[in-house]
Amino acid sequence: MAWQWFHRWGSPRWFYQRSGAWLPWLSLSAALLLLVGTVWGLALAPADFKQGNSYRIIYLHVPASFLALAGYYLMAIAGAVGLIWKMKLAYIAMRCAATIGAALTFVALFTGAVWGKPTWGTYWVWDARITSMLVLLFLYLGVIALYQAFDRQEVGSKAAALLGLVGTVNVPIIYKSVDWWYTLHQPASLKLTGESTLHSSMLYPLLVMVVGFYLFYAVALLLSMRAEVIARESSSGWVKALAAADDDTERN
């Protein structure tokens, strides 16, 4: 009985139908929060007394970095579930999370670079935080490459999942890098425990953006998993019926 939900989660068809029902609500709330957070952060929040307006990049840089890291855990866990229970849908989640994670890591590095120029006077420096984020990007790209490197999909999925699991050691290093090697990157201004060092007028829009990015991540992951499910299940009956029934392909 308790295992029933688990098996249903493993069913691509069930996933496809459920995610189709969730997506409109997820997309709407993600778009709303991102819009509010962007206007609030860029135009309504006060300028930083030391950095001026360049600090406004924080409203993109911090949420993108959060999701680049949280997405790595999600990808590694999905890979582990695939390895242990041989669940096809878990490997699909891993593969899709790898692309989104790589894209968000790139965003984190890019926004960091254009923030660094007016603040530190340089786009790039081999600081511990920045270097470990670059390693994260290569881990994501490595997972994508391994997934595609083998003729047999099963071998590629397993190899990619193993690399993903080994790479998780990098994530706590990234978190701790600003405390262990205090070089150039500033320490975290948002903390789960204890006072944040940001004033509330700057903190609230940042929290809105972080939640908005989490919802966006869910939307992006579901959309790409749905496409991957169709690609992998193209010869199964329910996908054929779906294609035949759905003239505009807009519905589920």
Binding site: P46, G52, N53, H61, F110, V114, A220, S224, A244
Partner: protein, 70 residues
């Protein structure tokens, strides 16, 4: 709670951000571009895949009809 005030005197000032405009807007542009791609590419891919499957079904139906008549 904090007061919410428009921080810039004009659109011009908002665009320039006291000299930091190029950095801030470059960050905004690249982030928005990447996010748009992450949404639009899978949407298009799913649509194309379903279209291909449907075309294949139509081809198969036409083949079987041609088989009966000729």
């Amino acid at each position: 709670m904090t007061d919410l005030n428009w921080q810039f005197e004009s659109w011009q000032a908002f665009w320039q951000m006291a000299g930091h405009g190029p950095y801030v807007w470059a960050a905004v542009a690249i982030t928005a571009l990447v996010m748009a791609v992450l949404v639009l590419v899978p949407l298009r891919r799913r649509k194309q895949l379903l279209n291909e499957i449907r075309k294949e079904q139509l081809r198969a139906r036409r083949r079987s009809q041609a088989g009966y008549s000729g």
